[in-house]
């Protein structure tokens, strides 16, 4: 039973397994993305002081072969072999990273994992998901590091903005001139590393396990074993008896070979199991396209005494995530993959066969949306939800009415009289800024209309926020209403709340805001500006141009706010004009 790691978890390797000969498998995939997996052997200062310990597609082994890149196998997109007791003392930390080759960003990544297999048994697994990332182009997945001479594993899951070369520079390496620029390869498959001795020969006493796809990108292609050049074709048993004739010299394509896990591939020669009836009244769909996949896959060959074979992917946990080229001739594009092993027999048509997804159960599906527990007073739960823990210091929170979505504990909500200044707002704009006072002990979740929320912590400084962009704030803050008058502003004036003191004010914006420094020429639309530092001076500038008015019906941008202030002031603008 593998131990499940979460981001930030650490454990001693010796607690996971007694072995020191580890197989590190990385599963990562995303629509239209291709990945470069690499391993950085870093010294005590987390620098890549010896470039021979940067293991990647062009350098698949370290000098004494303690680190080896193995290629895709056994359901893993990429795999490494790490022999801990042969790693020189110079290397203190092994950082396993995945970078996107070509366009794309990490948020497009589907569910993936990094796992450690020792002695044929998976002992650790750290699963991640694209939703944990945003625009990063690389991710440091996990570290194996030495602390007090004990090797440990840490699930890192840290995104990184640049690509492989930026990552390399971050670790103090240099990008060699002749190294292909990551990203310039585009989506061209078939990138083959120069056949060096380290790739051609499978390391002695270390046989890559027979994975679901025979030789799917695995570097097992020594010269003695002829192998079909299409690793993605999975032979059914009948087919497998026919000798395969290699049609072209085998290229150890550990990097670019697309792999497709076995179950969704079928060969046309194999008689199909009785499929479910076609759609009632519809045309008979082409057999090839819609029939459920052949279920000839039974268990995997025993690997016996091989101490280093990764186990077959568990039956339900991992759907095939590798992507084949579009239009691959043999794959069934529509049928969801079937489980392996135990689910071998085709089921009766009247029993609906539920394809197993990546995570069974409500808890697993909702895990990533779980509440973030902290002891802090304000905790951002996601981009548009914030939690206030009122009980911590007993300070009440003032919030816009109706912005509470959930609360726990004994919290009292009472109408907050806006006071004199508040009444000015109400009278002048016709829409009152209604506040409620949340007091007591408990947690309150605030959100409004999926607007992004930003907790701004003030420590003695001051900020002006447009009144309709205030979601909530600590009662300890002093607030006063300011009014900016000018022709053309809807309602006659723009109302802002100025907050001073120590505490947090939660500002909401529709969409991702932009923060601009105040320069001599900083203008903002009066309806889009959200907040500005209180030291900036606001001037209403009306621009009336004759030629604009010459077009009837033209509603140009006529009223702008100009900001002036010393360097260091800023304004916040949202991409939404209320």
């Amino acid at each position: 039973m593998p131990r499940e790691f979460q981001r930030g978890h650490k454990a001693k390797i010796s607690d996971l397994t007694a072995g020191t000969d580890l197989y590190i498998g990385v599963q990562i995939a995303g629509a239209g993305l291709s990945f470069d997996m690499s391993c950085f052997g870093l010294d005590g200062e987390e620098r890549l002081s010896d470039e021979r310990y940067f293991i990647f597609f062009n350098q698949p082994t370290s000098p004494e072969e303690s680190l080896q890149l193995l290629g895709a196998q056994a359901g893993d997109t990429e795999s490494f072999r790490v022999t801990l007791d042969r790693i020189p003392p110079l290397v203190q930390r092994l950082s396993f990273t995945a970078t996107i080759d070509g366009p794309g960003q990490m948020s497009q990544v589907g569910p993936g994992c990094i796992r450690i297999v020792a002695g044929g048994e998976e002992v650790a697994r750290y699963a991640f998901d694209g939703s944990e990332f945003s625009t990063e182009r690389a991710v440091m997945l996990g570290d194996i590091y030495r602390k007090n001479d004990i090797w440990r594993f840490a699930a890192v899951g840290q995104g990184f903005d640049g690509g492989l070369d930026a990552l390399l520079k971050n670790f103090g390496g240099e990008v060699a001139e002749e190294e292909p620029e990551p990203g310039s390869q585009g989506g061209v498959p078939g990138f083959a590393p120069p056949p060096g001795p380290g790739v051609q020969q499978a390391p002695p006493a270390f046989a890559p396990p027979p994975g679901p796809g025979p030789g799917a990108g695995a570097p097992s292609g020594s010269a003695q074993v002829p192998q079909a050049p299409q690793p993605q074709v999975v032979q059914q048993p009948q087919v497998a008896q026919q000798p395969q004739v290699p049609q072209q010299p085998y290229v150890p394509d550990v990097h670019g070979a697309p792999t497709v896990a076995a179950p969704i591939v079928q060969t046309p020669q194999v008689p199909q199991p009785p499929g479910p009836p076609g759609p009632a009244g519809g045309q008979q769909p082409p057999q090839q396209a819609f029939a459920p996949p052949a279920q000839g896959q039974t268990g995997f060959p025993e690997v016996g005494s091989n101490p280093y074979a990764p186990p077959a992917p568990p039956q339900t946990a991992q759907p095939p995530q590798q992507q084949g080229p579009p239009g691959q001739q043999l794959s069934n594009p529509f049928a969801p993959p079937q489980g392996q092993g135990g689910m071998g027999a085709p089921q009766a048509p009247h029993v609906p066969h539920i394809p197993q997804g990546p995570a069974a159960g409500v808890g697993a599906a909702l895990e990533k949306y779980r509440e973030v527990p902290t002891g802090q007073r304000w905790t951002l739960q996601n981009a548009s939800l914030i939690r206030a823990d009122i009980g911590i210091d007993g300070q009440p929170v003032l919030a816009k009415q109706g912005s509470m979505v959930l609360y726990q504990g004994k919290v009292d909500f009472s109408h907050k009289g806006a006071g004199f200044t508040g009444r000015v707002v109400g009278n002048a704009t016709g829409q009152e800024m209604q506040l409620m006072r949340c007091s007591g002990k408990g947690q309150v979740f605030f959100a409004e209309n999926t607007a992004h929320v930003h907790p701004v912590e003030l420590q003695g400084d001051a900020i002006c926020v447009s009144a309709e962009n205030v979601l909530a704030f600590d009662e300890s803050l002093q607030h006063e209403v300011r009014r900016i008058e000018g022709h053309g502003i809807p309602g006659g004036a723009l109302f802002t709340m100025q907050f001073t003191g120590t505490g947090t004010v939660v500002v909401k914006t529709q969409g991702t805001p932009v923060v601009l420094p105040v320069t001599p020429t900083t203008f903002a639309d009066a309806q889009a500006v959200v907040a500005w530092s209180a030291a900036a001076q606001v001037i209403v500038s009306s621009q009336v141009r004759l030629h604009r008015n010459a077009y009837p019906g033209h509603s140009g941008e006529t009223v702008n706010l100009q900001f002036r202030g010393a360097p260091g002031n800023f304004i916040v603008v949202q991409p939404y004009e209320v």
Partner: protein
């Protein structure tokens, strides 16, 4: 015409499960004969293959007669082989794989579910007031897939860890585990003005062991129904 490079990366990922998210806002369902699906009418944005839609399945009519008094059916039955893409006006979608579990879902936040799951419209005592606002919930139980929608990324909160109940704005409620007890709560204080609208403020109080899923928006308008 070749696919422009700017659109690369938006192609669907290989099918990995019965339901999968494509991006944040779209659900891709792998349809197979014999595995029918109930979906909200109007939620289909695309499909590949041979999928047929039955807008007025009698079973639904029976079950959902109390759903809303309107004459429209709340669900359509989809059957066939292919890939079905569902979305609800840009709302976030969440796919849940039930494993002999049960879940209660707010009707407007239900996008699709496997037809072989047991389901029924549940009414909550003391919440009759909400019925007019469209608060009805669908209890779903069994082993299979359910797709939910949420305006903005949802949050899952555990109930029952404190001594007090968990109170949820009904407009922000998405789903909850079926074991929870729920009752309506009306803010009785004259000065308490919480919630949308004027004067009347409700929350739903949950107690017991379980979780509540809440969306960061109090806009529970049923966009599909409003438009259709």
């Amino acid at each position: 015409m070749n696919q422009p490079a700017a659109l690369a990366g938006f192609a669907p990922a290989p099918v990995g499960a019965r339901m999968q998210n494509h991006g944040q806002h779209m659900v891709k369902v792998a349809m197979q004969s014999g595995q029918d699906l109930f979906a909200r009418p109007g939620s289909m944005v695309a499909y590949e293959g041979f999928v047929q839609y039955e807008a007025n399945p009698p079973a639904v009519r029976q079950m959902a007669s109390q759903w809303l008094s309107g004459e429209k059916n709340p669900l359509m039955l989809c059957r066939g082989d292919g890939l079905l893409y569902l979305a609800d006006y840009g709302a976030d979608t969440v796919c849940v794989n039930l494993n002999e579990e049960s879940l209660s879902v707010n009707g407007t936040n239900l996008l699709a579910f496997d037809a072989h799951l047991q389901w029924g419209v549940e009414r909550v005592k003391g919440l009759a007031k909400f019925a007019g606002q469209g608060l009805f919930n669908v209890g779903i139980r069994g082993t299979g897939w359910v797709a939910l929608t949420s305006r903005g990324a949802p949050i899952v909160v555990d109930c029952g860890r404190g001594e007090d109940e968990t109170y949820v704005d009904p407009d922000a409620l998405v789903a909850w585990s079926s074991g929870l007890k729920m009752k309506g709560k009306r803010s009785m204080k004259a000065g308490a003005l919480i919630g949308r609208g004027s004067g009347e403020a409700y929350q739903i109080a949950f107690s017991g062991q379980g979780f509540v899923v809440v969306q960061p928006s109090e806009d529970s308008t049923d966009r599909i129904r409003v438009r259709g």
